[in-house]
Symmetry: D2
Subunit: 304 residues, 4 copies
């Protein structure tokens, strides 16, 4: 199927809405100065077909979408031992809450809340040069080099007090093996990956292919079982405190980031990435969600 006309149509419908609502993340200058009036959409099918529209080639800070890739690496390293340190259930609390962490003795509810992703980063660090491994994975998935935005990483490090609190809190429960500074250095860097919609649609490609590499002739990224787990986690926990609403209105496994990107998976069919910097009250891209709703409405591609 040729998705290009569909994406053009969605771009056309979304573009007039740019600037009509939402707020660009402003907690660090490098994010705050991203112009709000941008929108991109890209997809890649299981067979390797691609389509894109709007600002789909513009790189942005992928932020929490990076949690998909570090989780994939950690599951590869540790298998089910990963779950000794991290839960797999929705949290019911804001993504950066400490309350749940206290009542569950430093074990984060799932790998997509900040505490969980920090715990994942800790596990990766124990197994070698995690930054290099992550960059290598991203380059392999995208077929081209991917880099960190050094300014974004430095800003997060300079002002990410809540994340320092989370990491030190887990450390106080003996739930981090590496030094807090090292763990957060990885975490802040993974969040600072710069990628475009086109690149993210490609990179997430293994999630609609039961874990096989997005391109043929390469080693599998992960197993079918792990892929299924990741997709399930995306659907139940991937969009902060809006997971229930996203499951209803979009009905696809999604992972969002405060940079305004959202990656979505149609199992066995395609992966999709939308991007628009202005966020709604739940911290998800306002027009990104709208675009995914249009996509699902127009294609009927939804898991429910």
């Amino acid at each position: 199927m040729n998705f290009q006309p569909l994406l053009d149509e969605i771009d056309e419908e979304i573009r007039p809405l740019l600037g009509q609502g939402g707020t660009v993340a402003s907690y660090i200058p490098a994010l705050a100065r991203v112009p709000a009036q941008q929108f991109g959409i890209a997809l890649r099918t299981c067979q390797g077909g691609e389509a894109s529209a709007g600002d789909a080639a513009t790189p942005f800070s992928i932020q929490s979408i990076s949690k998909l890739f570090t989780l994939t690496l950690a599951m590869r390293h540790l298998g089910d031992m990963l779950w000794e340190r991290i839960g797999r259930e929705p949290s019911g609390n804001p993504f950066n809450s400490l309350v749940q962490l206290e009542s569950e003795h430093g074990k984060p509810r799932n790998p997509f809340i900040n505490a969980g992703a920090i715990a994942v980063a800790d596990r990766l660090l124990s197994d070698g040069d995690a930054k290099a491994e992550l960059l290598a994975l991203m380059a392999s998935l995208c077929g081209e080099p991917i880099g960190f935005d050094a300014e974004v990483a430095a800003s997060e490090a300079a002002t990410g007090y809540r994340n320092y609190a989370l990491a030190n809190f887990m450390k106080s429960f003996g739930k981090l093996d590496n030094a807090v500074e090292a763990v957060l250095d990885l975490y802040f860097h993974q969040c600072a990956l710069r990628m475009s919609c086109v690149q993210l649609a490609r990179a997430a490609g293994f999630l609609c292919r039961d874990g096989r590499h997005p391109r043929g002739g390469e080693a599998d990224i992960t197993t079918e079982r792990h892929t299924r787990r990741i997709n399930a986690l995306m659907l139940t926990c991937g969009t902060y405190d809006a997971a229930g609403d996203v499951a209803f209105s979009i009905g696809l496994p999604c992972k969002s980031g405060v940079g305004g990107g959202i990656v979505a998976v149609v199992p066995d069919q395609l992966t999709l990435c939308v991007w628009s910097p202005a966020l709604d009250a739940t911290g998800n891209s306002l027009l990104g969600r709208k675009a995914l709703e249009l996509f699902v409405a127009k294609t009927g591609l939804s898991v429910f």
Copy 2:
């Protein structure tokens, strides 16, 4: 497709496991004395085909599975106004916790935790004879009369202190319109509906048919939009504090009850009900989950 051989096969695989783990709910005598060593499975396709195996015709107390049907009725009455009183997000807390209710001023997180179902019951009561309406709905869906187990309802009323606490707590926030006793009388009765796997697979049939009645020639049960919402809520919130794991291991919208039943939906294909009284630590039927895992493994029918 003829599912009968498949269900027979699953029954054969599950039956040897009966009695090897899990605990029958014991908080009221009428549930505690149900023999643990029972297992039933039944399904109904969108086209009306049916299959069943094991103790599929044995009636049991559907308990929280009833929340599916009262939610359907309340959405029919109130549309999106329902969500003024009830959230749609996973709770991250035990199904009968009061903590979340306090911090969110008496608004339950979703309609499948106890507080949420009690709030749904309150809304139904405001619109007429809710018990009669529920019985009429169940009879229409099943094509035969369905009744309450009076002993179970009376036991719940006599010992359901946590539910009285939840209801009075919501009432103290002005979030229940009807008298606590009346609301809980409905709630305890809906939980005391007695149905078999065969009946539940039929009754849930509208959930795989975009809301259309399980049988042709009858008025729609609800809209496609509402059906989608219910399925999404089942997947994210339908199995207490195991929703994340169920989404992974089964990958279908499910709603469980402490009577040991679980209803699952394969959108556009079929509905399924399994039953076995012994529960795992999360309050879900141990062998019911196992049977659903087998079903998904053997058919590949899963949303992920």
Copy 3:
């Protein structure tokens, strides 16, 4: 010492402030219609000297001040066994919070928060006709009959949903031995005792006399040890979420009620009761606190 001129002076200083702030409790009509512009003060020395000023003879609803007397009775019945069900530490949460109760499995933090007083009422009920026992105690302490305000008790029973929630919640943890309705009937009645400042200053007299009856020739009310415990609880937990500030600004063991009364104890010297219906944001009588501050400033009688 003749305290009469001092109380007259305080009355004179407080009276111009009537009507300038605070809010009369309005959650039940019988409290809401009490005229705000009233102020009374009364004291009784260990030696039996009395003084009073303003509306000291006007009866009012003693509300939570009653917790002093039921606690005294329960300690008499049960000694230190009472503390198996009730803690003795400040709560750090609003007086009617359920959160703490959930995390501590139904054991209230102290006998002066609502849950704690309800637990005390339950223990009293197990030992006989608690209402009659309470009335007999009050009559003995005051030297005249004291009665319940039936309208207040009925209103509390009709609208006290939060208290029903607390009691059912404790019952669900197996922490109440008697029926919720019976326990709350006692609780709502004790809160509905009608007494004047003069009567309360007399009734609390045993608290400045190491537990001996306020009048000579009568049996002791409680032991020195229990008296000390009660005074310590008053200082640390007696004024809702203002205990820290009251300890500083007044420096005496105090127990307040939402009817606007506050009882204070100067150990080994005197007991004091002030009353003015308008409450501050912490639920304590605004001018009652002010009057106690004046008393302490003028006499230097404070424990610090």
Copy 4:
């Protein structure tokens, strides 16, 4: 009055109990290796009389007792502005809990829980060389130089993850003005002050003298009003989660530390310091509490 025989008597009664219970704080090596079987007691009257017994001259790590002195300095600098950042009420949660801090947006409940003391340290830092100021205060109060235990301070800095979490959490709410590292450097140093019972009884002397310097001829340490506030905070919040029990069993304003010291104040009469390293389950010195109970029982000096 000559207190020497009394302290000798208490020492004689306590000494046989050494080694029979409690646990020395073990979270850092420098504390863990302190021999448990030590006990000291010292007092100083308002008039300057002193008495001591047992290991009263042995220096130990004063830990949280230091919060008395930094609070005194901060109140001197800021007066009531201090309370914009720090509450004055008991917390009802463990001394190092983050839950309360989250629900109250980074404002600690009182200056004696860790978060509160860290907030106090932040305020002191904003006004100059706080470490030097603290050392100067301690030297003036004791009449001799007092120093930090560098090993203890370094150990706390190396392992105090919970305190890093608390500080970063407050910083994330904008409730710390200075860098987390600088604030905690002060905090860890204040906790690492090494003093003996004799020195602490002297140093706290202003608390029984309405704020006047323990020795004549020196400038006042603080005002009567502030002294009263500090004493009230000690009584309601000074002994972690045992404040209610300490108020009952001892009935004096107390501040304890995990080094095993407890300072107590008898307003207008004397200050007292006891020390024994083994702690009870609430983190207070087991035999220190016992010794204070004996002191109160033998002298009748208690505020209730």
